[in-house]
């Protein structure tokens, strides 16, 4: 009874603290990510320290080349400097920088397509195709032991850092261009026709690359993550 009263009291005083924060227009200190950025004169070097690693990882995932990723990050900061905005919170600042970075990445793709052909012809050697029977009565069927297994704890996996590391490592195994395409379509949600225009590839090529990517990724995650869950 006393416990209930105390927890009720605590809840009430938390609520009052929140209310006070809103009135005083200060941010609640509960989430470090939302602490106001350094005050004082505009300091772009702080951006590099606070956001450099994340932007680099983001760019590397799509461009698959550390030098290109560094260039994209540098260009992003330079462009952001011209923009000269200030933000109420680190998350908003990061979102804005990521927006600029995305465009720099797309610029890189446009430039790259003029230099080399984009389709990964080597990847057409279909390793994943070995999961299907080549002949006999059930031609084209899954070879039983290699067919998709039941996955347990799918939703819980999304909360695991190790799961995301596995996902990342599996997509890192994909050939460079296929990985870029996969990221543009699945992570960024870019429309098929826009990807084709950006990379100067045909829709047919794109679909084959995505099919191979999805199949390889699914297989890799099954072996390296889901088969170990229980």
């Amino acid at each position: 009874m006393v416990q209930e009263f105390l927890s009720g009291f605590r809840r009430g005083s938390d609520a009052f603290a929140e209310f006070k924060n809103i009135i005083m227009q200060t941010e609640s200190p509960s989430s470090p990510a939302d602490v106001k950025p350094g005050t004082g004169p505009f300091d772009p070097k702080r951006w590099v320290d606070e956001h450099g690693d994340f932007l680099f990882k983001y760019a590397l995932l799509r461009l698959r080349d550390p030098t290109r990723a560094e260039d994209a990050v540098q260009e992003t900061f330079l462009a952001a400097l011209k923009g000269g905005k200030s933000f109420d919170g680190r998350r908003a600042e990061q979102s804005w920088l990521v927006g600029i970075l995305k465009n720099k990445i797309y610029d890189h793709f446009r430039k790259a397509r003029r230099e080399t052909s984009f389709t990964d012809l080597e990847f057409y050697d279909d390793e994943e195709g070995n999961r299907f029977t080549a002949g006999g009565v059930s031609k084209g069927g899954w070879i039983h032991e290699l067919g998709p297994q039941k996955w347990s704890r799918q939703v819980e996996s999304l909360d695991s850092e190790l799961f995301w590391k596995t996902y990342h490592d599996c997509s890192a195994k994909l050939p460079k261009k296929v990985a870029s395409v996969f990221n543009l379509r699945e992570v960024d949600g870019m429309e098929t026709k826009d990807i084709c225009a950006l990379l100067d590839i045909s829709a047919g090529n794109l679909w084959v690359m995505l099919h191979r990517a999805r199949m390889a990724l699914r297989g890799c995650l099954e072996i390296n993550w889901f088969s170990k869950q229980n």
């Binding site: 320290d49 990882k57 560094e70 990050v73 400097l81 067919g147 999304l158 699945e186 098929t192």
Partner: protein, 96 residues
Amino acid sequence: MNFWRKLISGCEALSLDCCTASRAQSERLDHPLPRAKRVGLWLHLAICKWCRRYGKQIRFLREAAHEHPEELAKAAPQNLSVEARDRIKRRLSENN
């Protein structure tokens, strides 16, 4: 009797095999399938639990990546090198 036989062989003809079905399930995520393929896929999925699983799993992976781009990016082990970091800071100072 003849009618049923014809119906079944018609379904068999239209139905896809697993290899083609997995390709169709992937393509379905990117563009609408032509009708014949759509029907063939539907017929195949009605009887093939492996392919049903396959479709669910690739959809799960797509949603996971799409809803959690930050977690995926953060999972990359590489960081901006010290050298690159300094270089960028210098460029920013020059341009400020």
